[in-house]
């Protein structure tokens, strides 16, 4: 593995290797001294063309716990705002000696472009590109589900589990990355969304699609339910372009206490954050003991440590 760009096409054994490594990384975080010397002397650049405090600090924490030097580069107020192209930015970073580049970009395919263009020799980690993919989020979701429901043993996948992903599938790179990764790991994935928020061509994905949350709760024996953020900032046509009103969305697709009670006892509630409380998830559901939202954040650091270790520690990274 030279880069981590997508979960689509990521082989099962490779995915499981990342999850197993993340498990060992998590254990080191219970130690008296949580910093490991593993990536000493390596430089990781966080290249963020889109605001994302959570993902950036998660990568930053992961790199720092492995003793890498971290340089944060955000588009706001930088040369990018002055019109610099991705190519020039990448070459500048290469000149600074980046061993790894973590890129978040508003354009789908930006990470792939950076990895294959030869503009930088470092390993590229996709931290979200447009509406395409967000592989480390999917890996931390898989890690969280495995810990809770597949006894978390090294080497195992998610075989036999059913996971529902509810909400704005159309704009969600998390939903895409999750759909590919979770099915690769053996899970059954059900997408729940209004017809307007399901992407064209979804019939080619390895998933089932349901247009009502109540129907999904009726039909499937769910092990995990993932509520996606309704990304109001993406709905440039106004929320009304995709559904009549936020209140209607909440009534039909929101996870509230009543729906929570209908789920099997073992089912965990997930959310990639930040949550819109009262829109896609009620406070009751978000704060219930079955919610693993806060744990997802902690697992994110372990998973990103694993990815940075696997990409940057070995000789392949140096060559």
């Amino acid at each position: 593995m030279k880069h981590l760009l997508t979960t689509r096409g990521l082989p099962r054994d490779e995915a499981i290797r990342i999850l197993d490594t993340a498990g060992e990384m998590a254990k080191t975080q219970e130690r008296e001294i949580r910093k490991l010397p593993t990536l000493r002397g390596k430089t990781v650049i966080n290249l963020f063309f889109e605001d994302s405090t959570r993902t950036r600090i998660s990568f930053e924490a992961a790199a720092k716990r492995l003793s890498a030097d971290v340089i944060n580069f955000s588009a706001k107020g930088s040369s990018v705002a002055k019109g610099e192209s991705l190519k020039d930015t990448a070459q500048t970073l290469q000149a600074m000696g980046a061993d790894g580049v973590v890129i978040r970009h508003w354009a789908s395919g930006a990470a792939e472009r950076l990895a294959t263009s030869g503009w930088t020799r470092g390993a590229v980690v996709n931290a979200g590109d447009g509406t395409h993919e967000h592989p480390t989020q999917a890996l931390l979701d898989a890690y969280t589900i495995r810990r809770h429901l597949a006894d978390g043993e090294p080497g195992v996948g998610l075989d036999g589990l059913t996971v529902a992903i509810v909400g704005d599938i159309l704009h969600s790179r998390v939903a895409r990355s999750d759909a590919w990764l979770l099915t690769t790991l053996g899970a059954r994935v059900v997408l729940v969304a209004p017809p307007t928020l399901v992407p064209l061509g979804v019939e080619t994905w390895p998933v089932e699609v349901v247009h009502s949350l109540d129907a999904a709760l009726e039909t499937y024996d769910l092990d995990a339910i993932m509520m996606l953020r309704i990304q109001l900032e993406r709905m440039t046509g106004g929320g009304a372009a995709f559904f009549p009103s936020p209140a209607e969305y909440t009534r039909l697709y929101g996870l509230d206490g009543t729906r929570l009670a209908r789920l099997p006892k073992r089912t965990i509630v997930m959310h990639p954050g930040p949550m819109n409380r009262g829109l896609e998830i009620s406070a009751e559901a978000a704060d219930s003991p079955r919610s693993v939202v806060v744990e997802q954040v902690a697992n994110g650091v372990s998973v990103r440590m694993a990815v940075l270790y696997l990409l940057l520690a070995g000789e392949e990274a140096a060559s």
Partner: protein, 184 residues
């Protein structure tokens, strides 16, 4: 010299002797913690702990032995393909104030032990750290020595020492081989 240099009974005798030496040196089993270095240090640490428990019934072999993975502390990470990370299991009581005995199969350059000492430093602050190895083959590259040695084995650098243990290899033997590609 090539071929088997220690058979199963030799390994058993060496471990029994080391177990006694550890107890003698430390005046008993109080505060002892045995940490094996993966892969083959793990079963060796467990075997030593069991032997110590035979002599000192108060010693809980299960609770006082574990493993310490050193992959992330190696100094040659960037010269090798990425290695999988092994498991670290530390006794629930931790290692602060304990006498930690590191256990490995072969002591060679000393770099593994250097990495293990760094890893221990991140886990806590033991009262002392000692080293037990089944085979010491020489060729140290760092000022490190073993406190307890099963067998001193003079080797040339081009030779390879393999320790095979029942728990992992389903056979029990120490072997010395001329490594491929370095035959003169």
């Amino acid at each position: 010299m090539t071929g088997a240099v220690m058979a199963a009974p030799d390994i058993a005798r060496a471990l029994t002797r080391i177990a006694h030496e550890i107890l003698e040196r430390n005046g008993g089993a109080d505060d002892l913690v045995l940490l094996g270095i993966p892969t083959r240090g793990l079963p060796l640490a467990r075997r030593l702990a069991e032997r110590i428990a035979v002599v000192e019934p108060a010693f809980d072999a299960q609770a006082r032995s574990g493993g310490i993975d050193i992959t992330m502390y190696r100094d040659d990470l960037r010269r090798q393909p990425t290695r999988p990370i092994g498991t670290t299991t530390v006794p629930p009581a931790g290692i602060d104030g304990a006498i930690v005995v590191l256990v490995d199969d072969v002591l060679h350059t000393g770099r593994t032990i250097r990495a293990a000492l760094d890893a221990i430093g991140d886990l806590g602050r033991p009262r002392s750290v000692q080293l037990a190895v089944l085979v010491d083959r020489g060729h140290r590259e760092l000022p490190i020595r073993a406190d307890f040695v099963g067998k001193n084995l003079p080797t040339s650098r081009s030779e390879r020492v393999s320790v095979l243990l029942d728990e992992i290899d389903h056979q029990e033997e120490v072997r010395i081989e001329r490594s491929e590609g370095e035959v003169e």
